[in-house]
């Protein structure tokens, strides 16, 4: 593939195709070849041909990598779980359908932590994904395949899902842009559910402009998802280069303890850039944000324990055992689910059990309300809140697999936003230990345009350029 093609952002490629300077199938074939031959473990399935004609619509046939948990009719969609191996859904997720309607061409399905449960992509039922910056390290998770694919130039852009940080954290660890929209902005219909009250689909892209363009064509109210709301105004392509008049808040609870020095340096430098661009910066308290992880690891597993009950070997996916009913259930689930999935089903089942519900689920919901209240109060004083996306840069493969708690803490800075249903973006802001560092910007509900504008200005000022060494 010519480095020229590879160098185009998705928005630029769409522009060229629409201008007649580039054939969509040429672009598709170039990426298809890269995706089919990749060695990072980023893809679980790659399309064998480009769509026959250039699709109508603004996305002009630019190939799109899709996280494996989005159902695409007739295409393997297993949420990287052995229990769904071979499952080809009879329908397509609304988010994917919308993007196709806008002209996107599905390039392939990307690897992920099984059922989106993980922060390193090591929980995939089909093997880990390697970080393209350093193949001994993880790409983050759970949308690790999508993030690695975009960072390594295996796909121009991708979609993923974020439950506690599953878009933003891998985006940070892979040096790309990732955004979790406001809960309800994008339909969840056809997304294989992990934690329904938290799951939200969003873009993983090379830059903020691509992020806005992709998001614009994902959002919208969907009659098939009662919790979907769409967005009050169209997602605009960002253009502002200054931050005058914008107030940024830094919560000490999410910027203090546990942040690696290298990450902190990049964060501080980026805050300084914000001031340079005319933004004001002040401290805002999020007193309960520190309890986010605890609440998250009760609520998400509780919902997951119910969401994953349908994988029983009766109707689809893997079936093991053909004796009596109980052994069918037990063997199918024993062999089909990985360790982390089982752990979370156990956690969630326990948290909902009679006699424990109030102490766990009930209390976690109250914490969740308090966190949302904290944000509401904070956004009366500031427009946006900034933090590092991940407390560390990409960690080594296997480094945290034996220590679930350490793994769970990878999400400490990204978990409070989905608990409050709020939008947040991660953009690459610098390097530490030769690995990218992400910068997170969160805003009030439906402030996507404001977040994208600020992210765009910071992106230009930071000038984060390039990516991992490309094969």
């Amino acid at each position: 593939m010519s480095q020229d093609l590879l160098g185009l952002s998705a928005a630029q490629a769409a522009e060229r195709i629409r201008g007649g300077d580039l054939a969509s199938h040429e672009l598709f074939d170039a990426y298809r070849e890269r995706a089919a031959g990749e060695e990072l473990g980023a893809f679980l399935w790659v399309a064998d041909q480009a769509p026959e004609a250039t699709p109508d619509g603004p996305l002009a046939g630019v190939p799109l990598a899709v996280k494996d948990l989005f159902c695409v009719e007739g295409v393997p969609s297993a949420a990287a779980s052995r229990i769904l191996e071979g499952y080809r859904p009879p329908y397509t997720a609304t988010a994917v359908e919308r993007l196709r309607d806008a002209g996107a061409a599905v390039l392939g399905k990307t690897n992920m932590d099984e059922f989106a449960m993980g922060s390193s992509n090591e929980n995939s039922g089909f093997g880990p994904v390697l970080n393209p910056w350093d193949r001994t390290r993880v790409p983050g998770g759970s949308s690790g395949g999508s993030a690695a694919a975009v960072a390594a130039g295996l796909a121009p852009w991708a979609i993923g899902t974020d439950t506690g940080g599953s878009i933003r954290q891998p985006a940070a660890l892979c040096g790309i842009v990732g955004m979790k929209p406001t809960y309800g902005a994008v339909s969840r219909y056809g997304m294989i559910a992990f934690a329904s009250s938290l799951d939200q689909a969003g873009p993983l892209t090379r830059d903020v402009t691509d992020c806005a363009l992709l998001l614009r064509h994902m959002v919208g109210r969907d009659p098939c998802d009662s919790t979907s709301t769409g967005v009050p105004e169209e997602v605009a392509l960002p253009s502002s280069e200054r931050l005058e008049g914008l107030r940024f808040g830094i919560p000490p609870e999410l910027t203090g303890e546990g942040i690696e020095p290298g990450v902190r340096e990049v964060f501080d430098a980026t805050v300084w850039r914000i001031e340079e661009l005319g933004g004001t910066v002040e401290e805002v308290a999020l007193p309960h944000a520190g309890h986010g992880i605890s609440a998250y690891y009760v609520i998400a597993p509780a919902e997951a324990s119910a969401n994953l009950a349908r994988y029983d070997g009766v109707r689809f996916g893997q079936r093991v055992g053909d004796g009596d009913l109980l052994s069918l259930y037990e063997q199918t689930r024993e062999e089909g689910f990985g360790t982390e999935v089982k752990r979370r089903i156990m956690l969630g089942t326990y948290a909902l059990s009679s006699g424990y519900y109030e102490a766990y689920y009930g209390r976690a919901q109250r914490v969740r309300t308090k966190i949302a209240d904290d944000f509401r109060a904070a956004f009366e004083r500031v427009d946006l809140i900034v933090t590092p996306t991940s407390p560390t840069v990409a960690f080594g493969l296997g480094e945290r697999t034996d220590d679930p708690l350490a793994m769970y803490l990878s999400d400490a800075l990204t978990v409070p936003m989905p608990l409050a249903g709020l939008p947040a973006i991660s953009i690459p802001a610098g390097m530490s230990e030769e690995l990218p560092v992400g910068f997170q910007i969160a805003g009030p509900a439906f402030s996507e345009n404001q977040i994208l504008d600020a992210a765009y200005a910071i992106e230009r000022a930071v000038g984060f350029d390039g990516g991992p060494p490309r094969a």
Partner: protein, 481 residues
């Protein structure tokens, strides 16, 4: 057996739990049409099969029907109720949980007749399991198959307070509920087909005591008769147990209609911790004023109200009023006949014809579906009142009108069923007196019973066209009384 226990009188305390399948156009949470005996697994979609990634969307028509039921049962409607997931593994439950309502139901604290309503809520029906093998139960089946056509059908669950005191009251109240729901046109309410299902919670306590005894739950009583029998059997079993000095254990009992026996469900089948979880895929159900107004406007006159009106305004006997009101088709036919009869019609007599002779001719089917016109019935009743046709002959006319239709006067004429005229009747009476001199002697001697022989002979001769009272008058006239 201790004397005190043997002698003690017990009072049953019964609460009912009713599931009603709503006859909405589509299922509770997806767009599939409801199934009425279609090929198995033809009324399904990814949503009601619980495919990964699918989401429920609440059926607005089901909410409307449930609101109508809540209002008809004089309940308070919750301004905001939510759905929960009731978790348990079973092959008839594709998602591994049933979407139902838990701590905040759609409606509560109502009343129907003399029974208070505890709550009314919406949920989805399970799929249907068919077990191959002798027992028809899953644990001993050779194999089981699932038909998902029924899965996701909207259900309304109605739970009463424990206000019922006997099996027959339970049956009668359930009949009132059925006729109310039928009147609302929200369900087919057929127990045999499962669109109306009733479980009963039964306990007994020494008469006059306020504390409740330990209750058992009775399932699978799929007809009114079985409900009455099952509850009676359970009351008897509990009495026997207590009289023998035993204790009732809280359990779920399965009623076997064939043998009438109650057997405990295996503990595995009932020992569930349902781990209720607020359903995160659905938004709360908050009926708007407009929705409530629409539900109120859709309420017809309900059976209990109709019975009261028929009794109060038309002076019908309570029994007739109730029978006409509980069967909408009868009640409607009655009112149409009454209207056709015009001013001064005898409502009570018409109601007797409806609930007596007409019901024995049409059975459970709608009289309006027969050939009989309400106006024809009205004319027939009028002819009887005027003495143009004798009551016994009129029954025959009615049977002909039900089968073939037409005008009663024509039928009477064509079949020669008109009342015997004075001349004819005098002739027949005199002939009968001549034929039965013995009887006449006895009557002269003061034996009134002997009159029956003469009346019988006249009726035979006139094929029922004679009025019995007129025959006796003529007879006595001739004897010289």
């Amino acid at each position: 057996m201790p004397e005190a226990l043997a002698e003690r009188a017990y009072e049953p305390v019964i609460g009912l739990e009713i599931h009603v399948q709503l006859k909405t156009r589509t299922k509770m949470f997806c767009g599939c049409k409801l199934s009425f005996g279609e090929e198995p697994n033809t009324r399904t979609c990814p949503v009601c099969l619980g495919h990964p990634g699918t989401l429920p969307v609440t059926n607005a028509e089901a909410v409307h029907f449930a609101l109508m039921i809540g209002l008809a049962l004089e309940c308070e409607i919750a301004p905001r109720s939510i759905f929960h997931r009731k978790n348990y593994f079973y092959p008839d439950l594709p998602k591994g949980y049933q979407v139902s309502q838990y701590d905040v139901p759609l409606a509560s604290r109502g009343r129907l007749g003399d029974v208070r309503i505890h709550r009314v809520h919406l949920e989805e029906d399970a799929a249907k399991l068919v077990h191959a093998g002798a027992s028809g139960r899953i644990h001993s089946a050779e194999s089981s198959v699932v038909d998902f056509n029924r899965g996701g059908t909207p259900l309304v669950e109605i739970v009463t307070e424990p206000d019922v005191r006997s099996a027959s009251q339970a049956k009668e109240w359930l009949e009132l509920l059925r006729s109310t729901l039928r009147r609302l046109e929200v369900s087919d309410v057929r127990m045999e087909e499962g669109s109306l299902r009733c479980d009963a919670n039964v306990s007994i306590r020494p008469a006059g005591e306020a504390t409740l005894g330990t209750k058992t739950e009775l399932k699978n009583m799929n007809s009114f008769r079985f409900l009455e029998r099952g509850v009676n059997a359970e009351i008897a079993r509990q009495e026997e147990t207590l009289r023998a000095g035993g204790a009732i254990s809280q359990e779920t009992l399965h009623y076997d209609p064939a043998s009438g026996a109650l057997s405990p469900l295996r503990s595995k089948e009932e020992a569930h911790d349902y781990r209720y979880l607020p359903e995160p895929d659905l938004v709360p159900l908050a009926p708007t004023e407009e929705m409530l107004e629409r539900a109120r406007a859709a309420l017809p006159e309900l059976p209990a109200q109709r019975a009261e009106r028929l009794e109060r305004d038309l002076g019908l006997p309570p029994d007739n009023a109730q029978r006409l009101a509980f069967r909408t088709d009868l009640g409607d036919f009655f009112e149409a006949t009454l209207q056709a009869a015009g001013d001064g019609a005898d409502a009570r007599t018409i109601s007797n014809w409806l609930t007596g002779d007409l019901v024995s001719l049409v059975g459970d089917s709608d009289p309006a579906a027969s050939k009989l016109e309400p106006s024809a019935l009205a004319r027939l009743v009028g002819m009887v009142a005027q003495g143009a046709v004798a009551p016994s002959a009129a029954k025959e006319v009615l049977a002909i009108l039900v089968a073939d239709g037409g005008d009663p006067a024509r039928v009477v004429e064509a079949k020669g069923l008109g009342r015997a005229g004075a001349d004819e009747l005098t002739r027949v009476v005199e002939r009968a007196m001549a034929d039965q001199a013995d009887a006449v002697e006895k009557i002269r001697a003061g034996n009134r019973k002997a009159e029956g022989a003469i009346v019988g002979a006249v009726m035979r001769e006139t094929k029922g066209r004679a009025d019995g009272a007129e025959v006796i008058r003529l007879l006595r006239e001739r004897i010289g009384e």
